[in-house]
Amino acid sequence: MNTRRVVITGVGVLSPLGNDMQELQEALEASKSGVQHVESWSEYKDFTTRVCGLVNWDNYKEIPRKSRRSMGRVAIMAAKTMMDAVKDAGLSEEQISNPRTGISFGSTMGSDEALFDSIGTIAKEKTFVGQNSMAFLQFMSHTVAANIAAMFKIRGRNIPACSACTSSSMAIGIGYESIKYGMSDMMFVGGSEEAHPYNAGIFEIMAATSTRYNDTPDQTPRPFDTERDGLVTAEGAGTLVLEEYEAAKARGAKIYAEVIGYATSCDGEHITTPSSEGMEQVMRLALDDAQITADKVGYVNAHATSTPKGDIAESHATYAVFGDKTPVSSTKGYMGHILGGCGVVESVIGLISLKTGLLPANKNLVTVDETCAPLDYLFEHRYGNHDIVMNNNFAFGGINTSLIFKKIEEK
């Protein structure tokens, strides 16, 4: 089968560590934390965690009112990153609205805030009177994809990718496959998540949130560490512009990297318990898609969320594929778990790694859990000459994704 090469030509990102790629890079290099103490969550009874990764951006009026009215924070942040990515890629309205230009975006939930405000009242008072027309459009599952499509006048394919923590990594994969196999020439891809106590509360019910570091938020989460006590939810968003390589080259586009491999596969087992075999399988499938061997990968950005079981399972899966010679870190220690947005934000970190050589340390990793596999864990930042990185993400439902990016020499 004839396939086409796919490159990244635009980036937009909002994260707890910074609101563009440069800020994110500098904060990573300075080992800053984007996790904060959130005292307002104390209004919920029997709810312990007080830590969350928050984005310092609320300039909502950058989005025109008519586009913004049907967006909650989750879609507003995504739309902001889409604006930034489009500008970064230097695209015209004609290119954006070309029928061969499509999108794929996802989030775990639509706007939690809109959902709470609307459904809570309806359920309690048993009436729809007083509800506005916008709440549903803000909390529906594909709110990010739908709103971005309307705002930017997208005419091509729109495939929402709502699969919890693999939403935005899957969106990148969908965009990559769309171009690789000829269905689109350009794809805007990414995802988002807004902070809300609901996200954290649900994980707390499952005994999966961090609760011991409420007064020292920069010390949690702690992927792979013996003192980890669960994940920290976070918010953020990101957009990548994907283009067919020859077209990008012909228009003189700035090229961040090539997407050379992607795979998604399913554990087909437990709804929440991670499967090391499933994780290993998806990494091997992505390497097959990229037609490279594991030793060519110079850095693995792990999903590792700082939960007891997940980190162990992932470490063994990664070890089975890479052994102990490939540098590995989870960058959730800097900002928490952006859920539907983590795949794209962590992919941007992969692009930073390719650009600068930075191999970011596992923030808060002091002593590796002895039941984790003996990987080459990054305890401090290193700098390498690598030209290929892998980004792994895993979600409830046993859904796994693995993406591989390669540095490209512009000619």
Binding site: K61, R65, K66, R69, G130, Q131, N132, S133, M134
Partner: protein, 79 residues
């Protein structure tokens, strides 16, 4: 309820919720042609005014309103 109260409330809602510029809110202004609103905005305007003034406005009333004056007149018939 006085007409002045209705007009002031409407003005406040248009500015705060629909980000209409104050100098655009003139007698006879058309919601759709002059204030860049549409049918979804009209429904939400009805809901907000209903809550603010505690009157009996329904979603179908949104189809009857075109201008500020028509809307104020409609509200006064329900007040």
């Amino acid at each position: 309820m006085t007409e002045a109260l209705v007009r002031d409330t409407l003005k406040e809602v248009l500015i705060e919720e629909f980000e209409v510029e104050e100098d655009e809110i003139k007698e006879g202004a058309n919601f759709f042609e002059d204030l860049d609103m549409d049918s979804l905005d009209a429904i939400d305007l009805i809901v907000m005014m209903d809550k603010k003034l505690n009157i009996d406005l329904k979603a179908e009333d949104a189809q009857k309103i075109r201008t500020i004056d028509e809307f104020v007149a409609l509200i006064m018939t329900r007040a």
